[in-house]
């Protein structure tokens, strides 16, 4: 029935690889389930017994302390057993292939893999390869997708701005290298946000970005006018293969979010950032720590969203 590799033949979510092509009811089910987990994470006992006895393997082929930790906390709060593998520093350096690594861990009765990899498509490859009862979550693959980040961002937006049909959202920064931006754009457009803008210099925009259903701006003054939500992206220094920018100082001058630029948006606009922040590069400290910033709530909600994704997958 479905050619989407994330969905089973009866349309249930089997893997979470990208927000692209996921129907709105599935996205909404994840967001609604996450609402219930927010309450759990605020209790004294921040744990439910849902995934007792399940083994979740965090396969991080690319270093990331923060994302790995949030997945680890989410799994532990569901009572799953979590194993963290920092593969950049293990078997792969001895020459083992990706699928051999996965086969070995499957033989240890893994129930779920959370995969971060520098190559776009790595999580898809694993999802196609594993037995049907094993679920795969993409925790970031190359420039392609980072679906749980995109989902936690729309969850955060919904908490502050529940009516998506009336929203103007601007995504600002290094769209070219950003898997986060792609996952945000697909989630926002599927959920009916009528206007998604991207604001970036030409050198940091992918070719034909308009095809994703966004309006392109190269200038903050025009791009931020009447915006309800600003989603800042990190300037990905480690991904800059060649010099696409004259300097980070110049980038800050034109695209860094200052209080002054923020005042161009709507008065009640909120500011998101996926972290880690480069203060003074893409965002000024007064904005990052200011009253319109929802950057720390994003981190808190990220746990609940990941708990929702894991429990929906494990039950399907």
């Amino acid at each position: 029935m479905s050619s989407n590799p994330q969905l089973s033949t009866n349309g249930q979510l089997q893997h979470l690889l990208t927000t692209e092509g996921l129907p709105a009811p599935i996205l909404l089910n994840i967001l609604d389930t996450a609402e219930s987990f927010v309450g759990v994470t605020e209790r004294d006992v921040k744990k439910v017994p849902l995934l007792r006895g399940k083994s979740i393997f965090n396969l991080f082929f690319e270093p990331s302390t923060r994302t790995r930790t949030t997945f680890e906390i989410a799994a532990k709060r569901l009572s799953a057993d979590v194993v963290n593998l920092n593969i950049a520093a293990s078997s792969q350096s001895k020459g083992e292939t990706l699928l051999d690594t996965v086969n070995n861990l499957s033989a240890m009765h893994a129930d779920m893999f959370v995969v971060r990899h520098a190559q776009s498509g790595a999580a898809h490859l694993i999802a196609r390869h594993v037995r049907p009862e094993i679920h795969v979550i993409n925790a970031g693959d190359g420039r392609h997708a980072h679906p749980t980040q995109g989902l936690l961002d729309v969850f955060t937006i919904r908490r502050y701005k529940p009516d998506f049909r009336a929203l103007r959202v601007a995504i600002v920064g290094d769209i070219l290298h950003s898997r986060v931006a792609r996952s945000q754009i697909h989630a926002l457009t599927t959920l009916g946000v009528p206007e998604v803008r991207v604001i970036a210099p030409k050198t940091l925009l992918p070719a034909k970005v308009e095809r994703l259903g966004v309006r392109v701006y190269h200038n903050m003054t025009k791009g931020l006018k009447d915006v309800d939500v600003l989603m800042m992206l990190r300037l990905q220094n480690e991904r800059m293969l060649s010099a696409r920018l004259p300097s980070t100082e110049e980038y800050f001058k034109y695209y860094g979010l200052t209080q002054e630029k923020l005042s161009l948006a709507r008065q009640d606009a909120i500011v998101l950032h996926p972290g880690p922040m480069n203060r003074g590069v893409e965002i000024d400290s007064t904005v990052a720590d200011g009253g319109q910033s929802v950057i720390l709530p994003q981190v808190t909600f990220g746990i609940a969203v990941r708990m929702a994704v894991m429990s929906i997958l494990a039950g399907n």
Partner: protein, 169 residues
Amino acid sequence: MQLPDAEEILIRLTESMRRDISPSTALVGIHTGGVWLAERLLENLQLPLSFGTLDVSFYRDDFARIGLHPQVRPSDIPFTVEGSHIILVDDVLYTGRTIRAAINELFDYGRPASVRLATLIDRGGRELPIAAQHVGAVLDVPSDKMLALEKSPGGTLSLSLYSKNRDDE
């Protein structure tokens, strides 16, 4: 099969519960029918009792078989569970599995002084050693049928019978 009037049973249940209630009692409704029922009990009792709601989806014992409930609502326990006298409220008591899950969830909020159970209908068929202290009515329901509480737009409660096969209600 002729079903009794839920509103009449509600009056009987209210009177049964009135004798058991002190100012430190808290009512906790189990989603969804139990919440409707608990709201009406609170209204009928006319006492300023603490009130909460539970959605037991994260504590159910059939997750491995049927997965997560497609519509989980947030649990809301806005009072201190530690040391409180709680009356759990559910619409239909059947296998007892929902109540088991509710008690487990409640204990993750704290250690209550006591937990009692009120139900509109006891339809028998228990699979766990669970009993209700307050029962509106006992009803014999065929095991292939599902009995559920419904609420009209005007707020009136009524009982309905379904042929749907659900083994935990």
